[in-house]
Amino acid sequence: MNRRGIGLYQATKKIPRRAVNVFILLILFALPLFDRNQYHLEVLVSAGIFAILVLGLNVMTGYCGLLNLGYAAFFAAGAYTYAILNVRFGWSFWVSLPACIISAGAFGLAFGSCALRLKGDYLAVVTLGFGEITRIALNNMDSLTGGPNGLTVAHPALWLPHKRLAFGINSLPYYYLTLLAILVTVIIVSRLSSSRFGRAWIAIKEDEVAAACLGIHTGKLKLLAFCIGSALAGFAGWLFAGKQGFVSPESFDFITSIMLTAMLVFGGMGSIPGAIVAALALTIIPEVLRPLQQYRMFFFGTVMIVMMLFRPQGLFGGVRIFEEFRPESERIRQEEDEALGEDLRQ
């Protein structure tokens, strides 16, 4: 980080953080007024669902350092829970929400309690295997999941006084629903990250043995991160199934898990704005590259490599460095130094 960069950063600091947040939100809420193109909204909704997934994965991988290459399985758990409840038992979209979150969370809890005794890349390959098992099982258990044909589920609807407002295939209501869902997720994840749990997770990620020595119950906290991450995937799955009106195993393959991990790394591990921007970028870039037809993946691959070579820590990965320059932490450090001096004098 050079001097000018810091200066610029300090300058932007003068604008209150909250004001910028509110401004961005306003723009996002007003966006459909300027652009009513269904395709654009649809791409944004997909990107938004990915953003929720990446935020969930961020809890697991970004905060707690648990590499998960089968995250799509938990996404599928949420989506299929809604699909099955809707098709077999006629549950409505809104009523199914807790069930989707709980089932995906329980799925994560059950799997995590077995798998979390493994570490690093061994954990990664077990999650990969689990993801594949889930996808194949969804494809083979025809009587429950509809097999390769998938399940057609009901789109959500709202009951306003005197009138039933069906969401149908119009992307606009899903746009607002997704925006709301991202907002909720961001609040949950940012509260978590600054909580006791969040700090414990980062401690585990940095050095598990040291964390355990400090009295952190690493096993339970890792399981908690895994469980919360899966529950958020279930939330995204619920939204996806409702928006899509249709679920089939193709949407939950290994490539999806890999792309989610790519988005997380691309945005910068542990960064909330990074997760959202990367989800947007890696969903929109392939769309922009569509005119290249069959050459598309070649350029997409090149973009991924070049971006990583220029910013290996991810788009927003430098946040921790910036934190050091923050006035409030400066003040805290001074206070700490003084307190330490006090102690030494005694």
Binding site: V126, L128, E132, Q294, I305
Partner: protein
């Protein structure tokens, strides 16, 4: 066919595909052993080997008037050389600049490389399955009711030879010693005057060359190759490498054969649509029993 003969036949089926997995797994494990990187592009390097072989067969032997045996030798030589160089090139461009970056950054460039390679293969050879020349027809050694085709024995024998050569290279030569030293402790190796960057290149060269040979055998065995074949074979081989204990060379061989046989028996006796489920389920169970793979040594992170 008696149940015993069927069982032996199933074991043979599993052994052959397991040998190919093992050859690919070596590439994953060697790279991982030295720089702790999951080289996701390795599956694509593997299938590139088959395509190079196909191109060589199409272009050279006819023009040079060579027989089948020489054509085979030439195909192997060029496929291995081509893939080895490709591996080194990928390491230079996509991994070396990120040596000091967070470990997962390389994962992203690896995925990028794999997209590019897949796309290039599709653009050069087209999206349709390519027919691969037949070398041994269906001629087979028959023992009672079960049969081992020449192609199967060829795959088993030549992979064994390659693995033995690799084992000898790692255990007995200076370069192999340097390789072991670098994978043990890169900083210490550097202090001992070992050119670690060169060792990493050698690792990519050998791993990718073996992968290329595996790809060529894969093409010869199934007689059909497509640009996306590297993906599934790559995941399986990676699984095999972890099963044996990633970073451990004999472990990769064992893991490959074990995986091939497990999924063969599962598919043969239970249900073929759940084939990959058996492979991954047994992997999970084995890893829970041996958390660092069958032959892997426990390593504190």
């Amino acid at each position: 066919m008696s149940p015993l003969e069927t069982f032996i036949q199933q074991l043979i089926n599993g052994l052959v595909i397991g040998m190919i997995y093992a050859l690919i797994a070596l590439g994953y494990t060697m790279v991982y052993g030295i720089i702790q990187l999951i080289n996701f592009a390795h599956g694509e390097i593997f299938i590139t080997g088959a395509f190079i072989g196909l191109a060589v067969f199409g272009a050279l032997p006819g023009a040079l008037g060579l027989g089948n045996l020489w054509a085979l030798v030439l195909m192997f030589a060029l496929a291995m050389a081509g893939c080895g160089l490709l591996g080194v090139l990928i390491e230079r461009v996509a991994y070396r600049p990120l040596r000091k970056s967070p470990r997962l950054a390389c994962l992203i460039t690896a995925i990028g490389v794999s997209f590019i390679l897949q796309n290039v293969l599709m653009l050069i050879w087209g999206p349709v399955d390519k027919s691969f020349p037949v070398f041994f027809k269906h001629s087979a050694l028959t023992f009672g009711a079960f049969r081992v085709t020449f192609m199967q024995s060829f795959i088993v024998i030549s992979s064994l030879v390659m693995m033995l050569v690799l084992h000898f290279f790692i255990r007995r030569t200076m370069l192999g010693k340097a390789l072991r030293a670098a994978s043990e402790d890169m900083t210490a190796a550097r202090l001992m005057g070992i050119n670690v960057e060169r060792i990493i290149s050698v690792c990519f060269l050998i791993g990718s060359a073996l992968g290329g040979a595996g790809g060529l055998m894969y093409g010869m065995y199934y007689n059909t190759i497509t640009f996306h074949d590297g993906y599934l074979a790559g995941i399986k081989a990676f699984t095999a490498a972890v099963l044996g204990g990633i970073g451990n060379v004999p472990g990769a061989m064992l893991g490959g054969v074990a995986l091939g046989m497990m999924e063969g028996l599962g598919a043969g006796y239970l249900s073929s649509e759940w084939k990959n489920v058996f492979a991954f389920l047994i992997l999970i169970i084995l890893l829970l029993r041996w958390p660092s793979g069958i032959l892997g040594k426990f390593r504190h992170e």
